[in-house]
Amino acid sequence: MKKYLLACTAMFIGSTAMAEEIVIRMAAPDWGPTRFMQEHANETYSAPSGNDVTLEIDFIPWPNFFDRVNASLNSGEQRYQMIVSDSQWLGNFIEAGHFLRLNDYIEESDELQAIMADLHPALVAGYSTYPHVPADEIEALGGYSPEMNYYGFPQFPDNYFTYYRNDLFCDEGENAAFQETYGAELPCAPEAWETVTWDDWRNFGEFFTRAAGETLAGVELTEDFYGIAYQAGKPLDFSTMQINAFFWQWGGGIWDESNEPNAEVIGVVNSPENIAAFETYLSLLDYAPPIAQTGQMGIFEIQDLYMQGRIAAIIDWAALAGPVVDPSSSTVADVTSFGLMPGNILNGDLDRSANLGGQPFVLTTWNDEETIQEALDLVIWWLSEDTQIAAVQAGGQSGMMSVLNNPDYDSWAPWNAQFRQSLPWQRDLWHIPEMFEMLTQQQEEFDRAITGQISAEEALNAIAEFQDELLRDAGRLE
């Protein structure tokens, strides 16, 4: 017995002495999904290696996130082992040598291969592959293939959909008035939004836009009320995220990076389909709050106005839905429902293509093998079914098909059904390093059109000309 106790003590001391303290520091936007990741890791994560691994997240406000991450990476301080990156930044930081190519590690790990195969192809396309591989090709390859270059995993997948006031859309008086004017019913239940088109959206906008003194659902308005709103802002990528959805839904498109150097810009970016789509987008701003006229109507501005009860329906990201249904921050928390984003009827079918949101998380290149393995174990933990279910139940989203197909998924948050249904429609912006210049110039031209300085056609011609020259200089166009 004595010998047995001595052996146990020796083993305990030995194992304690061998366990290393490893800190995985991650730069992440300061919002719910990343806060949850930190809390949940603190509570539940223990490294399978036996090492004492701590996840330490640097929470950075989103408007400053790119600047901070960019400064950290380019300064060479090597502060972070992992980084939450917007999907469009991948190419830039990969080509600068900051983000780690993961193929060898995935090849060696059955768990990681299973994760890649289980992820929704739209998310693998947007969050992981560089050079970019479209979702349909990933689906054809069975989800995972060593032929592609993998860099990231979903930290928080996101897409946008409609937030609407069910007290207005379900009001009998308003419904009768709407029926009389437009000969159709207002979509009251979330399912009713499955057939809503942009023409219907225009009607909602026109119908619900009212001046102070008029009545709304039987109540006299003390302030002006607005029908509809979506992103129309110059900062970051606000306008682009919404306008791309119009391009794709109208059968147009953006420069196809997966087909360089053969993909064209002239005639694609300024195609008749894109011009018609952009004109429709601009015309719908007539029913938005007046901030739209200034080109400053970003995702936070419309969220604020909606929470103050000034708009009937908006289109915004899942990431911003939490405060909207929280009575401590929103005056319309109890009367908000969620529906799919409107679509356009293209070739007889309702097209709901949209620009993917959310962010992947990636590993950086300067870590030793042990740290890399620990970081990958954290990835496996985060994308495990139990953790993903906990994340979704806390208000997040999952990109794992096994979780999305859980029969209870839709019941975990009031917008989950919309997220799940719209996921197959997601496409992404460019991922190449030139993305920043393309985006900045594009946002500027969109802004000129939004503020009425130029027409949709003039804006798209200017964008096409700029992109053509830039991409030729970069050797991405023949």
């Binding site: 110059k234 709050p289 106005l305 000129r448 130029i454």
Partner: protein, 315 residues
């Protein structure tokens, strides 16, 4: 003969710590040694990056690429000076500088004239008027962004009382430039006031009394007594405010983000976009030096005017 003979005794025959201290503490070395840490810090955090970025402006280099810098001579300067977008930004900056500095001088001078007189609560009001220039740019920027908001802002509400319509000042290029000018003038007019006020209170009372006895008009008193006393300070305010407004970044970035389109994008905001959004590091460095060149020209112009004034006074 050994090489030790050329060294101070403290380092040769007597190598004690005391000897070194005595050598360092010699009156002719004490001064330079005391300022040496400050000079070294200034060199490391200011001069060295300045020289580094100046050198970089002659290369083709992007901070987001692994490629080594390639010498390009004056290409970056040539490209910038022939780029319409850069000239547009210089014109926009000029418009903002002219509008804002002009407004600051008018308001600052008016306030200084007001506060040069004695009246009840003068000190408290003076403190309140000085408050804007003590605030951070971020606070002022966010305050004015909300102030101009057409749905929630006070300005729109006030205009709406008369027109019945929301007022979106940031919706047009002219309106957005005016909005930046107003915000900048609100923040910095007190600075002009402070400088002019210093000149006004230094005017001896007996000069005004003598002018009163001579029955000089108010305009003549202002032109021949007040203005000569404050002229130098007005020029100083003009110089400081022109240079600062020329480099305006924060307010523009926060209030309009350079929009609508690029209507309010100053040359400083454009340099930021070139360097930190488009990663054209060398071009951004070159543009920063073009901005510096303009600032140096403005400073030289000011010094020329001051020297001419001094020469006139001497003659």
């Amino acid at each position: 003969m050994t090489s030790d003979m050329h060294l101070p005794p403290a380092f040769t025959t007597q190598r004690s710590a005391r000897g070194i201290l005595q050598w360092l503490n010699a009156p002719e070395r004490r001064g330079p040694l005391l300022v040496a840490p400050a000079i070294l810090t200034l060199f490391l955090v200011n001069i060295l990056p300045l020289l580094w970025s100046f050198g970089l402006s002659f290369f083709n280099y992007r901070a987001n690429r692994q490629a080594a810098p390639r010498f390009d001579g004056l290409d970056n300067y040539g490209d910038l000076l022939t780029d319409d977008r850069v000239w547009e930004r210089f014109v926009t900056t000029g418009m903002i500088v002219a509008g804002s500095v002009g407004l600051q001088l008018i308001i600052g001078f008016g306030l200084a004239l007001l506060f040069a007189k004695k009246f009840p609560l003068r000190r408290i009001l003076l403190m309140l008027v000085l408050t804007p220039m003590m605030l951070s740019f971020v606070s002022v920027g966010i305050f004015f962004k909300l102030f101009y908001d057409p749905s929630l802002g006070l300005l729109s509400w006030i205009v709406g009382q008369f027109t019945g319509e929301p007022f979106a000042i940031l919706a047009t290029p002219a309106g957005a430039i005016s909005a930046i000018v107003i915000a900048d003038a609100w923040m910095w007019s007190p600075f002009v006031m402070l400088l002019v006020l210093a000149g006004l209170v230094s005017v001896p009372d007996y000069l005004y009394e003598a002018a009163h006895v001579d029955r000089a008009s108010g305009w003549r008193r202002f032109r021949t007594i007040t203005l000569p006393y404050v002229k130098g300070l007005i020029l100083l305010a003009l110089l400081f405010r022109t240079i600062e407004t020329f480099k305006t970044f924060d307010l523009v970035y926060l209030i309009t983000a350079g929009g609508p389109g690029s209507a309010t994008e100053t040359v400083a905001v454009y340099a930021y976009r070139l360097g930190f959004q488009n990663f054209r590091t060398s071009e951004a460095s070159a543009l920063a030096y073009l901005i510096l060149f303009v600032v140096i020209v403005l400073t030289s112009l000011y010094l020329y005017l001051v020297n001419r004034r001094d020469a006139e006074a001497a003659s």
